[in-house]
Structure formats: structure tokens, C-alpha cells
Symmetry: C2
Subunit: 236 residues, 2 copies
DNA sequence: ATTAGTTCTGGTCAAGGTGACTTTAACTAA
DNA sequence: TTAGTTAAAGTCACCTTGACCAGAACTAAT
């Protein structure tokens, strides 16, 4: 039916290939201070181009899954994690992102809770890096990580997203640690408390966290819903 | 080289096709009040699926252009317009967006100035609609328009984007009309003036707009740069 | 048992921004 | 000259925010 020449023409005019990648954020205690810091998992490339460099987890979009499902799946496959928050970041489609072929990457970003992140797969080819100290990455992935970081900081400052780093119950000091880790600056505990407790999505519980060598802090709960992306809108 | 069977398998596992669409906003005077309101151009579909329904301008991504260039091009092709602002909106990739085949659409949104919009092509198959009164559109384009409207309102309230609806020189009342049209509510002129003039990106000129039957308003100029999307970052 | 050390929690205060409103300025049309 | 219009400046009360202070509640050391 098709001649060889027709196949060549077909390949030339074929649409660019589509890939999904994900920037996965988790808080892990710093080696030095023990205070939480931002980490992301990367995978080592085992083939050209950019063989042996680190890259964002990702892969091609298979035919029978939505974009968000694809992101969720390769997040599960590379790290074994289920995200507590998942949102589309951007579609990157520059002409020269990959030297061999034209690739359009639809990138998602995710937050995972530290309890999950602790038991994440780590291997020869999957390793966690501090978000501000990933080295030279494959493709345009440095720019992608930078943009994801910018979006995370933005959403944290405006939206109510910090709680997806934490478990169901948390202290206000833990929330503050999230903000301090992501925004990379100290916040006044008293003022921070005032702001957080004034948002209606935060619910005071009767429980307290015992075990610290100081006054036991009250535990709170988050009662809000994620966001209003097109993907998340129709799931109320 | 390829057998017919191989072609079938190839087509089945082939990536979804990639399309670019654009939501184009412009302010045009309302028929009734004469005050500016939000309009968008739509194109009539001339083939199945959704033949004869109105849809967002768009088309396939050709091999040799970036995503933003593709959006710019089909904006030019369908309306003859050059946008004063162009930003990626979202990548829509649901499984059943198109009944016949799997399509992933990367959607942009644009602002054009009314001087441009006035001489925009309009024909049997291209027509402008009030943004809040597009009827039933093809595909998932109603949801896309809704989301674009939400993003426009959001960006207007926070970012400094209103000026892309206007020419180089403008009065503060014109800026206020943009806000009132997009946000669909009245704003106090005095307070609005105070806010706008306090932003450093707004520059007072020595000129005044003559011709009104009232005190001539001062003309201002916008001196800021668009935004910090990945596509626009590297063009400082 | 007492004290020191820690964080939690509630409070004050001044500065700055916002919404509602008033007043004066500067033009045109009658 | 006057009425009508919008421009532009100013006032006032209210709220949010950052900086700071002090007492409360627990643990660990003396």
C-alpha cells in the first residue's frame, strides 16, 4: 500500500513526538541542620542522547491514558510514589530540545508527603537531589526545574498548597517549616500563626502533639480542596 | 520495507496528534451601551466532526515551528491579527475530546488591541462573539473558553496585563474601562487611579487627550515587560 | 523541688494599603 | 454665564502586615 518513499514523506510530516515528564517535590531533612529542605528525584539516562546525565522522570504518552494519568503513572513507575498533589506545569515545545528528534514535553509537577518520600525507591539510576543543587541536567530540564520551583513558590505564597507536603494532622510549626523550606527564609512564628489560623480552610482539632521537650502544640487539619485546573475542575 | 500489517500496528501505537488552538481576546464596543466588552473570534467548522459548529481557531503543529510560533501563525491566518500579548494557557489531552481520533491540544491565549481588532478579517466562516455569549462550541472548546476567561481575569487582577488591550498612550479612564469590562463590575475612579498611578510601570506623560466634552485627561504610558513564562523568559 | 531552656500562644503597636466618600479643577455645550 | 461632565486630589475609617513583647506549658538538668 505504502511505498518506501511514501513512508519517508509520512515521517517527515509526522507530528512531533509527545512525552510526559514530572517534577516531583518532597521535603526531606537536610543532612546538616536536620531541618526540612526541598528535594526532587531524578533518573539517570541509560541511552543517548545525554547518556549518563540526570533527567526528570518521564516517558512517552501511551495511547489510552490522559495526560494527568500518564504523569501519575510514570511517577509511580520511577519512584513508587503516589502524589498528594499533581498539576500541569507547562508544555515545552522548542525546536531543539532534543538533538535527534522533535519532542514536545508536557510537564507536570507533584508534591508527595515525607512519609511516602521516605520509602521511595532509590537505586543506581534513581536518586534524590536538593532542588537547588541539581547539577547539569539532560535536555532543557534545568530550565524546567527552575520554572517548577518558581511556580511552587508562587502557589505556596498565594494558594493553599503547603498542606499537601504534610499528613492529615499537623502543627502550625510544621506548616511554617514547609514555608521556610520552600521560600528559603525565616518567618515570624507569631505572625505566621495569625495568618494561617485566619484562613477558613484550617480546622483546629482538640489534639496535641506530645513528645517534644517543650509545650505541646495543637494539631490542625486542612479541609480545603486542591485547585481549579481544567483537569481537576470536574471532580468536585 | 513495511508491510500493511506493520503500518496498522504503527498507527495504533502512534502518539496522539498534536494541535494548537488560540483564544483571542479583544475589546469592542457593545452594540447597546457603547462601552467596551470582551469579544473573541471563532471559526466555523467546515468538516466533520462537529461540522457547522463554531470552534476556536487552530490547526496542527507543523514540524518546523515552536509552539508559540504556531499559535502566532494561526492567529494571523484566521484573523489577520498580530497579538500584543500571547501566552500558553494549557495542554488539553482528555481521551475523548475528539470522537474520531486522539488529539492533544496545546492552547494559547492572546490579547489584541482594538485598533487591530477593528480591521480584523470577518467572513462567512470567521465571526466575533461576546466572550460570555458564545453558544455551544465544538469539542471541549466551551470549557477551554471558560478557563481562558478565568485566567484572563486572574492575570488582570494580579499582573499588569490590561495595557496590552490598549495602544501606546492611554488615559486612566481607558484602563479602568478595560478592568470593568473584563471583571464585569464597576470600579471607583478615584481609588482606581490611586492604585494604577502607584505602580512603577506606569509613566505619566505631558500630553493630554483633547476632544472630550469635559476636562482633558492626562495620557500615560506603560513601560513594563510582559511576563516570565518559559517561552518569554529568554527574551529580555 | 526548683530552675533553666525551649517552643507555643496570645497580645500590642505602628505603618501601609483599601474602600467609601467629598471636594475642587478644567473643559464643553447651551 | 451657567449647567453638565469627567479629571484629579484629598479625607477618613477599617483591615492587614511586620516587628516586637510577655506569659503559658512542657522537658531536662540541677
Amino acid at each position: 500500500m505504502y511505498t518506501s518513499a511514501a513512508n519517508v514523506a509520512e515521517r517527515r510530516s509526522a507530528p512531533p513526538s509527545l512525552a510526559i515528564s514530572t517534577v516531583i517535590f518532597a521535603l526531606r531533612p537536610s543532612e546538616k541542620s536536620g531541618r526540612p529542605t526541598l528535594w526532587i528525584p531524578l533518573v539517570r539516562r541509560i541511552r543517548e542522547p545525554y547518556k549518563d546525565l540526570w533527567a526528570l522522570p518521564g516517558g512517552p504518552l501511551t495511547h489510552a491514558e490522559s495526560l494527568q494519568d500518564a504523569a501519575s503513572r510514570n511517577l509511580q513507575e520511577t519512584t513508587g510514589l503516589a502524589p498528594s498533589y499533581l498539576e500541569q506545569l507547562y508544555a515545552f515545545g522548542g525546536l531543539h530540545r532534543s538533538p535527534s528528534q522533535r519532542v514536545v514535553s508536557i510537564v507536570y509537577w507533584a508534591l508527595v508527603q515525607p512519609t511516602e518520600a521516605a520509602l521511595a525507591d532509590e537505586s543506581e539510576n534513581v536518586r534524590w537531589f536538593r532542588a537547588d543543587r541539581v547539577g547539569d541536567l539532560a535536555f532543557d530540564h534545568n530550565a524546567i526545574v527552575d520554572y517548577a520551583l518558581w511556580r511552587l513558590r508562587n502557589k505556596l505564597a498565594y494558594g493553599s498548597i503547603a498542606y499537601h507536603f504534610l499528613g492529615e494532622y499537623f502543627t502550625l510549626a510544621q506548616v511554617r517549616e514547609v514555608y521556610e523550606a520552600v521560600l528559603d527564609r525565616q518567618l515570624d512564628p507569631a505572625n505566621f500563626r495569625r495568618q494561617i489560623t485566619s484562613t477558613p480552610e484550617i480546622e483546629e482539632t482538640g489534639e496535641y502533639l506530645q513528645g517534644g521537650k517543650h509545650r505541646p502544640p495543637r494539631l490542625y487539619r486542612f479541609t480545603g480542596r486542591p485547585g481549579l485546573d481544567p483537569d481537576n475542575r470536574s471532580t468536585p
